[in-house]
Each structure stands twice: as structure tokens, then as C-alpha cells.
Amino acid sequence: MASEDNYFVDLITHSYSQYLNNDQFASVKRSLAQLIEDASTIRNFPITHEDAPTPLFSNIAEIPPKQSDRN
């Protein structure tokens, strides 16, 4: 996790440091920490190969039951 954090900090520094002072950069790092925590939660949530992404930018209509639930 620490290496991912550092990678993104480097990426943001490279791309956007011209727009940020030191205090703002410290706040960006805190936001990044929250995001990485969220991403970690998402990554650890168990799903199966049957769980495809929902179609982009569309309604959640009736989602059919999983094939494994039907069998």
C-alpha cells in the first residue's frame, strides 16, 4: 500500500505540482489516503466472474438472478 501511495504522489507531483502550494499538497495526500482506503475496500469485496460491470451510464433495470442461483 505504501508503494502505491508513493507512486501516486509522484504522479500527482509530476503532473500538478505547479498548481499546488505545500499546504495544498499535504491536503491532496490526505485525500489520496482516503481514496486508497476506498479502493482497498472495493478490491477486497468478493465477487464472482458472473458479476460483470453494469452497462455504462444506464438504468439499473431488473438485474436477473445469477445463473448459479437459478440452477
Binding site: 485525500s31 453494469t54 438504468n59 438485474i63
Partner: protein, 466 residues
Amino acid sequence: MTNKLVFKTVRELSALIQKKSVSPVEVTKAFLNRLEELHPKYNSVVTVTRKNALEQAHILEKEVLQGKIRGMLHGIPYGAKDLLATKDGIPTSWGAACYKERCFDYDATVVSKLRQRGAVLVAKLAMIELAGGMGYDQPNASFTGPCKNPWSLEAWSGGSSSGSGSAVGTGLVPFAIGSETWGSILSPANNCGVTGLRPSYGRVSRYGAMPLSWTLDKLGPLALSADDCGLILQEISGPDSKDDSAQHVKFGYLDQAPSKGKLAIINGVIDDADPEVHDNFLESVSQLKSWFDIDDIEIPDMPYHETARLIMLSESASAFEDFTEQGLAKTLTAPEDKYGPYARTSILAKDYIKALRIRRVMAREITKIMKNYDGLIAPTRNSAATGIKEKFRGATKGSGKDTMGAIGNILGLPAVSVPNGFTSQRLPTGLQIMGSLNSENMILSIANKYQNEQTWHKSHPENLYP
């Protein structure tokens, strides 16, 4: 004249116009005058559209005299959140200082539809800059200044549809169009003591609206009653060739009897509510129990907040890519917005796609639960309006919880917020009713029933009566 009109519902004003008790020009002038007199005190308006409004009102008046009525909105003034494009030299600022002079040469579909149906645009309404997409956490996050609450100038109107809530609550417009990605219709409805409807995803075309998150954004009405919200939604919904996310079926407003007679409360959903919000909610539950069975339910343990945040932040990184790359965030008003867009540029595609896969699982699991109920209920927000200089607890930044909001917005479910009481500081609190996809008639019927028995929505600040 203004005495007869302020704090009248759309339905009441429409009856007056159709009976020719008042004319569209009289109504429009009355609200324009009131807007110009009061809006500076509340920071709720960006542009008053006097010239265009009166031109339109004269046309509509002639039609009334000819016996031609376009519908319930004929001659009714309204305000549009300033993320909706408007042509004819009316600026559309998105709440951001760098865009305050910018004009589009087209109208958003919702603005066109309202014009066609006879509604009169009298104002572009203040909003949080970029609809809160940069991560604001206090009210002074717009070039128009912090938007003030109808019930107290020391309290915030809520956001990001700040002006929409404040202008309806102060009687400057009979209704407004706002938007919600996560909380931005329901929050100002709660804070300002008005009724707000977040429709189902795709109900209302988003063509011409500033995008923040294509998976989560919805447009909807704020008004003085749930009945008004139903009337307005009927006029603004429907297919649009310019927005392929808009549903193909137009919404027809119909007060319907509950099919199951059952509501549910998610366990734990009031745990973080302030005591007076908690108490007002329990009063509402007690009232609703006279008509419904109400169950306490568990929902699956899923990462609702994290999924909503990841989807919203990924998509906003794309929506504001040019803005971010040009370094325009430094021109924003809120200090926290000046650095807001940068962290999210690091979200990986695989995490975004995983969030969309979790969305599918959520849809399946939550739909199974909601099939058994006419709606889920909760306090609209965990607190009444916060102070105009205070930070607020926000689920979008992870400093507060909003489970109903996370679920509702990820899955595109409709919700209505109705006033349900006051705090000891005389600030409104709200009750939200959330339904299954496309169940606006059901939740509006429940809200109508509640508002037929309770009169919270008829309370208005005493100092604002003309």
C-alpha cells in the same frame, strides 16, 4: 398582488391563472419583483431573467385570453440551477467564478421542455461550484457566496442545489429545478424546509446540464409540496434523442394506493442522527404507522459509500479533465476546492470497473429487499442546517454516513424529501421516502398522504410573508 401569490403551490397558482383571477404577466412580475428585492440577502440567485421572462409571460397571457392553456405549468415562474444551459445571452456559470460570464447558445432539454409547457424562467439559481464535485466541506463554495437558509441567515441552505432550495423556501419562485449526484436535491430540501424529488436515473434528460458523474447525475424539482413535484416531473420527463441515458417512457403522475402497505427502515440508519432529527423522525414513523406496517430490516454488508465515492470521483476526473489540466481549480472559491481534483486523477481503471461490478451485485441484492416494500424511510439528513461558517459532515468526503443516499444514488432509485418538523433553533428537518426504480408515483403518493395529514410543508418563515 404579491400577497396572493407567495407560498402558493404550483397547483394553486395554476388554478388562479386558469380561472383568470391572475394573469401570467401579473404572476411573473410579482415574482420578479420579489426576487430582485430579496435574493441579495440570501445569495440564492446568479441571474434574474427579467426581460426574457416578461416577453414570455406576455405570450402566455395572450394564450390564456384565447382559451389556450398548455398545461398545469402555464404561466408559472421557476428558477433553474445554474448548471443548466440557457441561450439568449443568459449566462450559465456552474457556480464557478471562471465561468460567470459564459453563455451557451442552446437550452438544456429540461429548460426547453418547461418553456414549451408554459413555465416562465425568472432566475438562474446559485449553486455550489461545479455541483460540489471538487469536494467542498463548508458553505462558502460558490462565487455567489454562501447561500443562506430561509429560516435563519446564520444557517446554510444546503447544497449543491443551494439556490434552488433557498429560493423556493423564501418564496422567490414557486418551484426550481435542481440536480443530485449524491445529496444535492435532498440536502437543500431538508435544510430549507421544502419538498425535493430526486427522480429515478434517466427520468429527466440531462442534455445541457453540467456533467459531474454520468452514472449518478439526475435532475429533479424542488417545490412546496410532493404533489407539485409530481406535476413538474410529468412535464420534464421523457425521451430525448440528445441524451441516450434518458428513459424512453414519459412519466405520468398519478396518486396511487400503496400496493403492499409496507415501509421499511434500515437498521442503524438513524444512529448518527442528531437528537432532534431522531425525535422528529420517530414522530413521522408514528404517523406513518397509522397507514403502513413498518419493518426494521437488515441490508447486506456491502461497501456502499466506497462504491459511490469511487464511481463519482472517477467520472468527475474525466468530466473536469480539461478544467483540471488547465489548473483552473485555483480560481475556485472554497480553499478545499482549489486542490480538490488532483487526488482522484490516480484512480485506476480496474478499481472503477470493480465498482461497477459491485453495483450489479448491489442492484440484485437491494432489489430483492425492496420488492417487499412500498418504500424505505429515513431522516433526509442526520442534522438540520449547519451554520453558515461551519464545516458539515459529508459522506462524499468520508466524514459522515449516508447509507440511503449511497444506495439510492448508485442504483438510481427515486427519493422524495418532505419537511417533518423543526429543531429548537427553528430549523427544518426532513423525512425521506425512497422507492424502487421508477416508483415515483408510489413514493409521491406516500408523501402526499403524509402532507395531507401534517402541515410542516405549509410553514414558512414569518418574516418572509409579504
